[in-house]
Amino acid sequence: MSWFGVGRSEEESEGKFTDRELTQRMVSYILPYKKPIIITTIIIVINTAFSLVPPYIIGRLLDFAVELSEGGTPSIALIVTLAVTNFVLNGLLWYLGEYLTRVITIRAITKVTREIRMDMFQKIQNHDFRFFDTHITGKIMSRVMNDTDTLRDTLFFITQLFGNILLVLASAGLLFFLNWQLALISLALTPLIFLLMFIYRKFVRRTMLNWRKTVATVNAAMGESISGIAVSKSFSREKRNSEDFQKINQENFVASFKRGLIFTTLWPIITLMQIAVLVALLVYGQNLVVFNHVMEPGALYSFTIYLWRFFFPLTQVANFYSQYQAGLAAMERIFGLMEVESEVKEADEPKILPELKGEIEFKNMDFWYNENEPVFKNFSLKINAGETVAIVGETGAGKTTLASLLSRFYEIKGGSILVDGVDIRDLQIEWYRQQVALVLQDSFLFSGTIKNNIKFGRIWDNPTDEEIRLAAKTVQATEFIEDFPDGFETEVLERGKRLSTGQRQLVTFARALLANPRILILDEATASVDAYTEAMIQDALEAIMKDRTSIVIAHRLSTIKNADKIIMIENGQIVEMGSHDELLTKKGQYAELYETYFKHQSLM
C-alpha cells in the first residue's frame, strides 16, 4: 500500500451537481463573451458560404473545359478570372476569416479559463480550515491549474458550436437544392452519428472523471513526496517511494489510456460511416448520371465535395456532445471545489468597532472536529483587556484549537466567543483578523526576502522599511539577518528553507509584531530558539505584551510564570486558573506539574 496522496481528500464533488446546474454555471461564465461567440459564428458562416462557391465553380469549370476540348477555343481571360475568383474566395477571404476566428476564440477561451481560475483561488482563500485539514494541496492545485486547462477544449467547441450548427443546416439545404435524392442519402448518416455520440457520452464522462482524479493523485503524490523528501532520505525510502509512485502513475496510465482510446476509435468509425455514405451516393449518383441523365458528371463531383463540407460541421456538432461531457467532468471538479461551504461566514451586516480594547470571553463554547470527539464542551473563560494569559496543558488538550477558534479559523459549534462584548461572528472577518495576530507552532515562511516575510504581517497597509527593521530588532532577529550578505534582502526560499528553524521562528515573531495587533496569540512561539535568544526575546516580549491582550501557549515555565493568569486545560476543560503564585500555594495540578517539571529540570 502506498503512503501518499491518500489523505482525507475524498472526492466529494462527484454527483453533487446535476448536468443542468453545471451547464448553467458554465453558461454564466461564457455569457459575458457572447459578442465574440456571435462574431465567430458570423465569420464561420460567411467563410463557409464563400468556400461553398469554389467546388461548384470547379465542377462547372471542368464540365466547361471538357466541352471546350470537344471543339472550341479557350478564353484565357475567362479562365484567369475564374481562377482568381476562386483564390480570393477560397484562399484569401477564408484565411482572413480563419485568422479572425482563431484570435477571437483564443482570447475568449483564455479569458474564461483565467476567470474560473481566479474565482477558484478566491473561493479557496475563503474556505475554512476544516477544508484544508482534509484536502491535500496537490489535489487542490490540480483542480485549479489542470482541470481548468482541460476545460479549454470544451470551451473551444462551445465557441464553434453555433457556427457549425448553422453550417450543417446550410449545407444540408444546399445538398437538397443540388439534388434532393442524393441529399436524402447523405442525411441518412446524421442519426447514426448522433446515436454513436449518445452511446459514447457515458464512457466519455466516466473515463474523463477518472482520468482527472488520477492526475490529481499523481500531482498530490509528487508534491507530498517532495515536501517530505528529508524524511524519506533519512529513512532511505527513495526506492520504495519510487515503487509506490509507479503504482499511482500506473493508475494514471490506465485512466489516460482509456480516455485516449475513446477518442482514437471514434474517428475511424465516423470516417467509415462517411465513406459508406459516399459510396451509396456514387452508386445512386452514377445511375442518375449514366442511365437517367438527370445530372452531369461534374455536378455529381461537386456534390461529393459538398458532402465533405457537410460532414465536417456535422461531426463537430455531434462531437460537441462528447466534448461537452468531458468538459462537464472537469467542471464537476472545478465547481465542486468552489462550492465547498465555508462554515466561517461573514455576517450579513459585519461590524467594525472603532477601537478594540481586547477583552475576550468564551461563553459556554462547544467545539469538535469530529462529532464523536468533542474538543470543548461548555467551555467558558474570560480574559480582561490587556491581560497576559498563559495556557498550559498536555499536548492535544486543545490549546492550539483555542487559538484557532479565537482567530475564527473554525466556527464554534455552540455558545459564543465575545470580544469587547461583541460576538466575533458579527465582526467583519478581515478587520477582526487584523486585530488578532497569531504566531503558529509551525514557522511558515514564503519564498521571497526576509523583509517581505516580515512585511507580510501587515501587508494590508504597506509598512515602511523602518517599521520592518524595528520589528526585527525587537525580536533580536537583526543580528542573524545582518550576518547574511544580503541582509533583509536575503532570499529565504520556499518555506524559509534557507534559515534554521530558530531563525525562522524569529522572523515569524517579527511578522506578528509588525501586525501590531490588539490581541496577540503566541503558540509555542519561542520553542525553537536557543535559551539565550529566548531570554533576550523574553525581555522584549514583556514590553510588547504590556498594552495588549496576549495569550501564550507554552511549555516553558519562563513564559508561563510571568503571565497575569495561568489557565490549565485538560480535555477541553479548565481545571485550574490563577497566577503562578496562587496556583503554587493551591498545591493542585499546576503545582504538581511545576514540581515535576522543576524536578526534571533542576539538576544543577
Partner: protein, 652 residues
C-alpha cells in the same frame, strides 16, 4: 536510455547515477525522440501503419478520378440514349461497380488500420508519459538536499504533471500527424508528377517560400510556447505556496494581497497563451498553398481545353492538390505540439540533468552490524559554496530566482569540526540560533557532503558506505516533524521495509507515549493525519515521529530539539521511555534543556560554526564563556527560579 556496462563504471569512477544523468542527451529534441522510441517496435509499427493508412486515403481521390472518367465516358457515350425507367434506378455499370468495391475495400482497410494504429499510438503516448514521469520522479528522489533546498515544490509538480502530459500530446496525435503530413504531401506530389509534371512544377515553385514561412512560424512560436509553460510553472508554485501557507495568509489577512499576486501570474499566463494563439493564427502557409492551387487549377483548365488532359485527370489533380491542405494545417499543429513537447522536455531535462546528487561510490560497501563510533575529522562545510555550485548548473527557475546579486562573502557554516562519539555516547550539541547545530547532524547522514575533512563511522569514511545502509543506521527526529497524509499506523511504520505487525507498532507507540492519545481517536491507529500531520497537535506529531524513529531501530540517533513542543508532563513520560530507547545507541541531541544536557556524556558548544568548547556540564560551566552565557545566570539565582530557559545571558 543507453546502458553502460559495469567495467566502464569502475573505469570512470562514476556512480551509476552520475552515468545515467550524463547519458541524458543535451539536445531536447534528441531526448524527446529517444522517449518516443522507448518501444521501437510499436513506434515503427505506428509509422508503417500510418503510411498504409495514408496510402489508402490517397488512393481514394485516384479511384474517384478513375471512376469519374468512366462515368464521363458513359455519360458522353450515351448522351441521347436511355429513357427514364423506374426499375433502372438500381442499375449499375459493371465498370463502375468495380470501383465501388475498391472504394469500400479501401475504406474497410483504412478503418482497421486506423483503429489498430490509433490504439498503438495511444499506447506509446501514454507509455511515454508514464515512463518519463517515473524517471522524473526517481530522478527528483535521488537529488541531494542541496537540490531540494532550492527547488520549488510547485514548479517540480508542474513539470511532473503539466509538462510530461504535454509530451504525451506531442506523441499522440503528434507522431501520427507528422508521419501523415510528410507522407500525404509526398504522395500528393507523386500523384501530381504522375498526372502532369507541368502542374507539379507550378506547385513546387512555391515550395521555398512555403518552407520559409513554416520555419519563420516555427521560430517565432518557440519562445512563446516556452513562456506559457514556464509561466504555468510559476503560477503553480505560487498556488502551491499559498495553499501550504494558508494558515499564515489567514492569520495576517493577506488574502487580498495573495489574490493580487496570483492574479498577476494568472493574467500573465493568460496573456502568454493569447500571444501564442495569435501567433498560431498568423500561420500563413495555407495562403501560399491556395495561391499555388489557383495557378495549378488555371493551368489544368487550360490543358483540358487544349486537349492535353482529361476531365478525370483534372479531378484527380484537384483532389491531390486539395490533399495538400491537410498536411499544411497538420504541420502547423505538429509544430505547435512539438514546440510544446520540446519546451516541456527542456524543463524536465534541466531538472533531471542537474547533477546535484550525493555520489555513491561504485565500490561502496554495505554497512552491517555497526558499533556506532563516530568521528568528525577537520570537517568544513558551507551552504554558500553549495549554492554557488547549484547556481552554475541551475535550472531555469533557479536562474530566475538568482537574479539577486550573488553572494560574494563565503561564510563557512561549519569550520574545522573535530569530534568523537563512542558507541553508546550521548552527545549534546548547543549554541545560538543558526550556529550550525542541525547542519552537523545532517552531514552525518550525508544529507550534504563535507567540503573538506571526513566523517567516520566505526573508522570507515561515510563516503565509502552505501547511502542506504548508512542512512538506515541513522535515525533522525527532526525539528519540524513531517508526517505523511496517511494513517498513524503507516506513519509509524514508515521507516521499515518489512511488514510490521500491529502489535509491534502499538508497542513502539506506547514507548513513545503516543498510544493513549491515539486511542482517543475513533479510528485509533487507522486515523488519517492530514497533510503534514495537520490534524494533530505539535506534541502528538512529535511522539509519532519518536515512535517512527525507534521502530526503525537505528544504531545512531539524532534528536533535533525533538521535545520542544511537548508539554512538561508528557516530556517527563517520554524521558523515562527514552532512557530505555536510547540504550545501546550513539545519540546526538540538539537541545537547550538542562536535564537532557546533563545526561550527556559530552557537550559540544558551537558558535558561528565552530566548536568553542566541549566537555561536561560542570567543567564547561567553569571554563566556557559561551556555555556560561546560556546557563550562567542559574548559579546566581535561587534554586526555585532556575527553571531552564528563564534566564538571560548574564555573562555577555
Amino acid at each position: 536510455m543507453e546502458r553502460i556496462n559495469s567495467t566502464e563504471i569502475v573505469n570512470n569512477g562514476l556512480s551509476k547515477q552520475q552515468i545515467e544523468i550524463r547519458n541524458i542527451p543535451d539536445s531536447h529534441l534528441k531526448w524527446l525522440i529517444q522517449q518516443v522510441f522507448r518501444k521501437p517496435a510499436i513506434t515503427i509499427t505506428v509509422i508503417v501503419g500510418t503510411l498504409l493508412s495514408i496510402a489508402a486515403t490517397m488512393a481514394r481521390p485516384y479511384m474517384m478520378g478513375e471512376l469519374f472518367d468512366v462515368i464521363w465516358e458513359l455519360y458522353l457515350g450515351s448522351r441521347t440514349a436511355n429513357i427514364v425507367e423506374f426499375l433502372s434506378i438500381l442499375d449499375i455499370d459493371k465498370d463502375i461497380l468495380i470501383y465501388v468495391y475498391i472504394l469500400l475495400g479501401l475504406a474497410g482497410f483504412e478503418f482497421i488500420i486506423n483503429i489498430t494504429v490509433g490504439i498503438l499510438n495511444e499506447y506509446i503516448a501514454q507509455n511515454t508519459e508514464r515512463s518519463i514521469r517515473d524517471d522524473f520522479y526517481k530522478s527528483v528522489q535521488s537529488k541531494s538536499m542541496a537540490f531540494h533546498d532550492t527547488a520549488k515544490v510547485g514548479e517540480l509538480m508542474s513539470q511532473a504533471t503539466f509538462d510530461v502530459r504535454i509530451i504525451n500530446a506531442t506523441v499522440s496525435p503528434g507522431l501520427r500527424m507528422i508521419t501523415q503530413a510528410i507522407l500525404t504531401a509526398s504522395a500528393a506530389f507523386g500523384l501530381l508528377f504522375y498526372y502532369d509534371w507541368r502542374i507539379a512544377l507550378a506547385v513546387i515553385v512555391f515550395t521555398p517560400f512555403y518552407i520559409w514561412a513554416v520555419r519563420n512560424y516555427s521560430k517565432k512560436l518557440h519562445p512563446l510556447t516556452e513562456k506559457v509553460q514556464k509561466q504555468f510553472g510559476i503560477a503553480n508554485s505560487l498556488l502551491q505556496e499559498n495553499v501550504s501557507g494558508i494558515r499564515v495568509v489567514r492569520a495576517f489577512t493577506a488574502e487580498k494581497y495573495e489574490t493580487k499576486r496570483f492574479s498577476k501570474e494568472v493574467d500573465e499566463l493568460r496573456d502568454d497563451i493569447i500571444a501564442r494563439g495569435e501567433r498560431q493564427a498568423l500561420y500563413f502557409p495555407p495562403l501560399i498553398l491556395s495561391l499555388s492551387i489557383t495557378i495549378a487549377l488555371g493551368l489544368s483548365i487550360l490543358f483540358i481545353a487544349t486537349g492535353s488532359m482529361s476531365g478525370g485527370e483534372a479531378i484527380a489533380i484537384t483532389g491531390a492538390l486539395f490533399q495538400l491542405y491537410n498536411p499544411t494545417y497538420m504541420i502547423s499543429w505538429v509544430l505547435y505540439l512539438t514546440h510544446m513537447g520540446i519546451a516541456g522536455a527542456k524543463r524536465i531535462i534541466t531538472t533531471m540533468k542537474e547533477e546535484e546528487i550525493i555520489v555513491e561510490k561504485p565500490d561502496a560497501i554495505k554497512f552491517t552490524d555497526i558499533q556506532g563510533r563516530v568521528d568528525y575529522i577537520n570537517v568544513d562545510f558551507s551552504y554558500y559554496k553549495l549554492r554557488e555550485k547549484t547556481r552554475k548548473t541551475g535550472t531555469e527557475i533557479k536562474k530566475q530566482e538568482t537574479k539577486e546579486k550573488p553572494e560574494i562573502i563565503v561564510r563557512e557554516t561549519l569550520k574545522d569540526i573535530n569530534l568523537t562519539a563512542n558507541p553508546g555516547d550521548i552527545v549534546a550539541i548547543l549554541g545560538p540560533t543558526g550556529c550550525g547545530k542541525s547542519t552537523i547532524t545532517k552531514l552525518l547522514a550525508r544529507m550534504y557532503d563535507v567540503d573538506s575533512g571526513e566523517i567516520l563511522i566505526d573508522g570507515k569514511n561515510i563516503q565509502d558506505i552505501t547511502l542506504e545502509s548508512l542512512r538506515k543506521n541513522i535515525g533522525v527526529i527532526e525539528q519540524d516533524i513531517f508526517l505523511f497524509s496517511t494513517t498513524i499506523k503507516e506513519n509509524i511504520a514508515y521507516g521499515v521495509d518489512r511488514k510490521v505487525s500491529d502489535e509491534k507498532i502499538i508497542e513502539y507507540a506506547k514507548a513513545a507515549q503516543a498510544h493513549d492519545f491515539i486511542m482517543t481517536f475513533d479510528d485509533g491507529y487507522d486515523t488519517l493525519v492530514g497533510e503534514r500531520g495537520v490534524t494533530l497537535s505539535g506534541g502528538q506529531k512529535q511522539r509519532i515521529a519518536i515512535a517512527r524513529a525507534f521502530l526503525a531501530n537505528p544504531k545512531i540517533l539524532i534528536l533535533d530539539d525533538s521535545a520542544s513542543a511537548i508539554d512538561a508532563q508528557t516530556e517527563e513520560l517520554i524521558q523515562k521511555a527514552m532512557d530505555r530507547l536510547l540504550e545501546n545507541r550513539t545519540v546526538f541531541i540538539i537541545t537547550h534543556r538542562l536535564a537532557t544536557i546533563k545526561r550527556a556524556n559530552k557537550i559540544i558548544v558551537l558558535r558561528k560554526g565552530e566548536i568553542v568548547a566541549q566537555g561536561y556540564h560542570d567543567s564547561l560551566l567553569k571554563s566556557s564563556e559561551d556555555y556560561r552565557r546560556v546557563f550562567g545566570r542559574h548559579i546566581e539565582l535561587p534554586p526555585i527560579d532556575e527553571a531552564i530557559g528563564s534566564t538571560s545571558g548574564g555573562s555577555k
